[in-house]
């Protein structure tokens, strides 16, 4: 299919039901994680009496705002396990959902600009290989072969000294991913309820039995949070805390251009990442705004800095026009790894802390979270990510692999 001409869509892919008085499982948040979790609960575990409650419109949060980079080249075993599981699910997802998601395995380059970068990158390539994740170390000439438009001259402030390369990485169309999961979940009996804000929890004897919402009380056998940047607000209502800070994270696109960028390029050091969307916009992002914020917007100097970095690495972009910028609310943890699993409240579950990088995890996290909810115990992929790691000190420090928001 010509990537630049998207297929026609039916007007409605799912129903718009009234909430029932109770469900076996209530999921809070219809972003990628909530929708994937609902789908896998229904398809893998036969649990179909499920509602996904969404304060706004379906997948209008970070799911609509991310830059869609998918990869699994993280350093530690626990991370490689869940991100690689997710990447394998991505590889079969169009078929599984019977829906186009424009998953394009165009590879990702993570550039190195300092000796420290080089060492860290080579170490990560070796760690990836031991974990069965495809990874290569490329010298600057090989980087240029993969991505001819990148500047490898040595007269810039931070010349490219090489890159890690994951050929199976890529991008997908985030809104289509959400719609694909939503459509199949709805077909399997899940109620997708928009404009329904969860405002409180009913807890009896230490166990959650329902939620209060802007559309009335809804009883629940189990409640699964999938509220990304709003998780702290919800857990406060449920009477416990999470080690998360919510930050604005911004991104931008240029006007449409001929397709000139064949892959995804990320640079932790110069601090930008760039890909080209299927229609031709250059898509760029970088780090979070420094301050806590729930405003879905940030400061313009952040945008200016990432454009400056992009022009240094890609001189061809210097005349491209900025078309649009936006922001989401990302849920940041101190070790740049997610928080998943059980909580101090029985039958209430947590999936959050994906911060700047949880789009790639949508299939894998949804799959493992559904299993955790269905069996009321952390799945093996989830177990390392429990709240207890902040007490035991078993942090999963992925700042090296995750330093640019991605």
């Amino acid at each position: 299919m010509n990537q630049r001409n998207l297929p026609e869509h039916p007007d409605f892919l799912w129903d718009d039901p009234e909430p029932k008085s109770s469900y076996d499982v209530v999921i809070v948040g219809a972003g990628g994680h909530g929708l994937a979790t609902a789908y896998y609960l229904a398809s893998m575990h036969g649990i179909t009496n499920v509602a996904v409650l969404e304060r706004g419109w379906l997948a209008g949060g970070n799911m609509a705002r991310n830059t869609t980079i998918i990869r699994s080249n993280y350093l530690w075993d626990e991370s490689a396990a869940i991100y690689e599981h997710s990447l394998k699910l991505w590889e079969g997802l169009e078929e599984e959902l019977d829906y186009d998601i424009f998953f394009s395995q165009r590879g990702v380059l993570n550039l190195a600009h300092t000796l420290q970068d080089v060492r860290e990158s080579v170490r990560r390539v070796e760690a990836n290989r031991l974990n069965g994740v495809d990874a290569e170390w490329l010298d600057p000439r090989q980087v240029k072969e993969v991505c001819p438009i990148v500047n490898i001259a040595d007269d810039i402030r931070y010349p490219v000294m090489g890159a890690t390369y994951q050929p199976r990485a890529g991008i997908a169309k985030h809104d289509w991913v959400a719609w694909g999961y939503a459509r199949r979940a709805a077909e399997l009996g899940v109620d997708l309820i928009q404009n329904c804000e969860v405002t409180g929890f009913e807890i009896s004897g230490g166990r959650v039995i329902g939620v209060r919402t802007s559309r009335g009380r809804i009883g629940a056998g189990k409640v699964a949070l999938a509220a990304a940047g709003s998780t702290s607000v919800l857990t406060e209502l449920a009477g416990f805390r999470v080690p998360i800070q919510s930050h604005p994270l911004q991104a931008l696109v240029s006007e449409l251009h001929e397709i000139i960028h064949p892959t995804v390029v990320m640079s932790n050091h110069v601090h930008v990442y760039v890909s080209q969307a299927h229609k031709g916009e250059l898509v760029m992002g970088a780090g979070v705004d420094s301050y806590n914020g729930y405003g879905q917007r940030g400061s313009f100097h952040i945008i200016e800095q990432q454009m400056a970095a992009a022009v240094e690495l890609f001189p061809a972009f210097s005349r491209a026009h900025l078309l649009r910028t936006w922001g989401g609310i990302v849920d940041v943890t101190l070790d740049a790894s997610p928080v998943m699993g059980l909580t101090p409240v029985d039958q209430l579950y947590l999936d959050c802390g994906w911060g700047t990088g949880g789009f790639k995890a949508v299939p894998g996290a949804g799959w493992a979270y559904a299993d955790t909810i269905a069996h009321d115990r952390p799945h093996d992929l989830v177990a390392p990510y429990g709240l207890d790691r902040f007490v035991t000190g078993h942090l999963i420090d992925e700042h090296g692999a995750a330093a640019v928001a991605h």
Partner: protein, 107 residues
């Protein structure tokens, strides 16, 4: 970009400042007496309200002093700034110090 009213220098653009997260988080009085849960609370848990937040900023490209601000995390509007040394304005919400709950079961 925010305009931040440094209590020492007056209103300056955000690019001159660094962010320091939640204000008024006290170092434990007797560190060796802390349980693992209490350490987790001190090291990893900060409040994350949707609304008014007392937070620290440093005027890195100006007087280089740390100070505090009260900012609404929804609108980003700063309603007050005050020095770290001076009196704390009335109505500032202090950080929660309760320790994180243990998780009831599982690992």
């Amino acid at each position: 970009m925010l305009t931040i009213d440094c209590p020492h220098c007056g209103p300056r653009p955000e690019t001159e400042f660094g962010y320091g997260g939640q204000a008024h988080v006290a170092y434990p009085e007797d560190p060796s007496a802390l349980t693992d849960e209490e350490w987790a609370g001190y090291l990893f848990y900060r409040d994350n309200p949707r609304g008014e937040f007392a937070e620290r900023w440093v005027h890195s490209a100006g007087c280089r002093k740390w100070f505090n601000a009260v900012r609404d995390t929804r609108t980003y509007r700063i309603s007050a700034t005050y020095t770290s040394a001076g009196p704390v304005p009335a109505g500032i919400v202090r950080p929660r110090t309760d320790v994180p709950h243990p998780v009831s079961k599982g690992a």
